[in-house]
């Protein structure tokens, strides 16, 4: 449109210039005749007419120029708009698949391994979509394989620790039987049987701990909470543990705040956590060390802590202290007989109660392990039910 308009305008402009030239020529001829004295009124009229005629031509061309300028401007605007529309269409056809990809990647990252994108659109985005889907397929396959392996591992540990109990019962039982007749044994034989029994007990602890962890991993470590007075429970554990700490000339003191409200816990599990923490303090501290067990209310939680003035834990070990089979440096003491699983289990148990556990330590001065339990009764949802855990992806 604009091109045709401009072409026509150029033609008109050419005609205009020709007409103007002709007009001057006619006027000049008339003026020459007037100058030569031939021109009368007719020649003068010609001069006037030609002047008017040129004015008309000029008005005409300036109007045409304006129209053409408007046409050109309109053409430019239309062209730009068209280009913009075309471009935004292109952007949109890129954007939609990209947005779908971003959305799917987000879902994939948050654990929804079934996230896929529709493959289509421009060839570049289609290729990207297909690559994304392929990656998601692989991730999903690997995850389901890993899940299966995890399940097998859990089942294996559960079965193995169960099956190992019968032979262990025999070994321990017959060693105990021998000890019933220790009067007839030589001191060397008594020592031998004691070593067998020590190792049996260690194996039992290991089996119990492994079983707890396997159950915890499989979401089958259920706790049965009931209203419990913590002070008598802590007191009972401390009294029981004094036999062991006294044997190493260690003092085991308790400092229980008065008026701690009843909490909703499984008493056996809290006992287990406390025994683990006190045992660690005892085993990793030298003879003559001091151990304190404290209990107090902090906000809407009750805190139980075990502090020792033993060698402490270096910072690089402290970061991993609640991981499985991580043990502190036992260089100072030969008493360490733990399984390396106690703190990992304690952490699982505290968390099952809706609580938290932490450790801090100053090397050379001692360590404190403290766990906090909520004072409010826990909602039913805090207790994992095997059915929901087993069916989760």
């Amino acid at each position: 449109m604009a091109v045709i308009g401009v072409g026509r305008f150029i033609q008109k402009r050419q005609d205009f210039e020709d007409s103007i030239a002709r007009s001057y020529q006619v006027e000049m001829t008339a003026r020459v005749r007037i100058a030569q004295g031939f021109g009368g009124a007719g020649a003068r009229r010609v001069v006037e007419n030609q002047s008017e005629h040129r004015q008309e031509l000029r008005d005409q061309i300036s109007s045409d120029t304006r129209d053409t300028a408007i046409l050109v401007a309109a053409g430019l605007i239309a062209g730009l708009t068209g280009a913009l529309l075309l471009f935004s269409g292109l952007i949109a056809s890129l954007r939609r698949p990209l947005e779908a990809l971003v959305d799917a990647a987000g879902r994939l990252a948050s654990g929804d391994l079934s996230a896929r994108v529709e493959v289509g659109g421009l060839s570049e985005t289609a290729t990207l979509g297909a690559a994304f889907n392929e990656m998601a397929d692989q991730l999903q396959a690997e995850a389901s394989q890993r899940e299966q392996l995890d399940r097998l591992k859990d089942e294996f540990v559960l079965t193995a620790s169960h099956e190992l109990r019968s032979p262990l019962t025999s070994v321990q039982g017959f060693a105990e039987l021998l000890m019933l007749e220790r009067d007839t044994l030589t001191p060397k034989q008594v020592e031998t049987v004691e070593i067998i029994l020590d190792n049996c007990r260690h194996l039992v602890r290991l089996l119990n701990d492994l079983l707890d962890l396997a159950r915890s991993d499989a979401g089958r470590l259920a706790i049965r909470m009931r209203p419990t007075e913590l002070a008598p429970l802590v007191d009972e554990v401390v009294r029981t543990m004094r036999a062991q700490t006294a044997a190493a000339d260690q003092t085991l003191e308790e400092d229980l705040e008065a008026g701690i409200p009843t909490v909703s816990v499984e008493p056996d599990r809290i006992r287990q956590i406390l025994v683990n923490l006190i045992t660690n303090a005892h085993e990793y501290s030298p003879e003559g060390a001091s151990i304190w067990v404290r209990s107090r209310v902090v906000g809407d939680e009750v805190e139980i802590s075990v502090t020792d003035d033993g060698p402490g834990i270096p910072e690089n070990q402290l970061d991993h202290i609640f991981e499985r089979f991580v043990r502190g440096d036992a260089g100072l003491t030969q008493r360490v007989g733990g399984t390396g699983l106690g703190l990992a289990i304690s952490k699982s148990l505290v968390e099952l109660h809706g609580g938290t556990i932490e450790a801090d330590s100053t090397p050379g001065e001692g360590s404190t392990f403290r766990f906090r339990l909520p004072l409010r009764p826990l909602a039913e949802s805090a207790q994992p039910s095997p059915a929901t855990v087993d069916s989760s992806p």
């Binding site: 169960h162 109990r165 019968s166 262990l168 019962t169 025999s170 039982g173 049996c200």
Partner: protein, 119 residues
């Protein structure tokens, strides 16, 4: 003499239990599966049952259920390889007088046996 029926599918465990119980002054009869338990109870009329929870063919639990259904009121302890027997195989509909976990704490077991056979 007080008679205890011990049931376990392991000969070694049976020997261990028999030795410890006889040393403590009990008469012992044994069974190696649930069916033998049912038969032995009828033959020997024991004063206490000490049954392994898991045995081939018929478990200690199933044998006890059968005995209870037949009106047998002999006290029974269930021996379980589970660390926390309440978790696994504790049927709530069955009258059980106690659980014993493996490895067996014999001091604890013998005091339970004494309590249950005292009356």
């Amino acid at each position: 003499m007080t008679m205890v029926l011990v049931a376990d599918d392991s000969e070694t465990i049976l020997l261990l239990m028999r030795t410890r119980l006889e040393l403590a002054g009990y008469e012992v009869t044994t069974a190696s599966d649930g069916q033998e338990v049912v038969d032995r109870v009828a033959e020997r009329e024991p004063d206490l049952l000490l049954l392994d929870a898991m045995m081939p063919r018929k478990s200690g639990i199933d044998a006890l259920r059968e005995l209870r259904a037949g009106g047998c009121e002999v006290p029974a302890l269930i021996v379980s390889a589970h660390q926390n027997p309440n978790d696994a195989d504790a049927p709530t509909d069955l009258e059980i007088d106690g659980f014993v976990t493996k490895p067996i704490d014999f001091d604890h077991l013998l005091s339970s046996v004494a309590d249950l056979t005292a009356s």
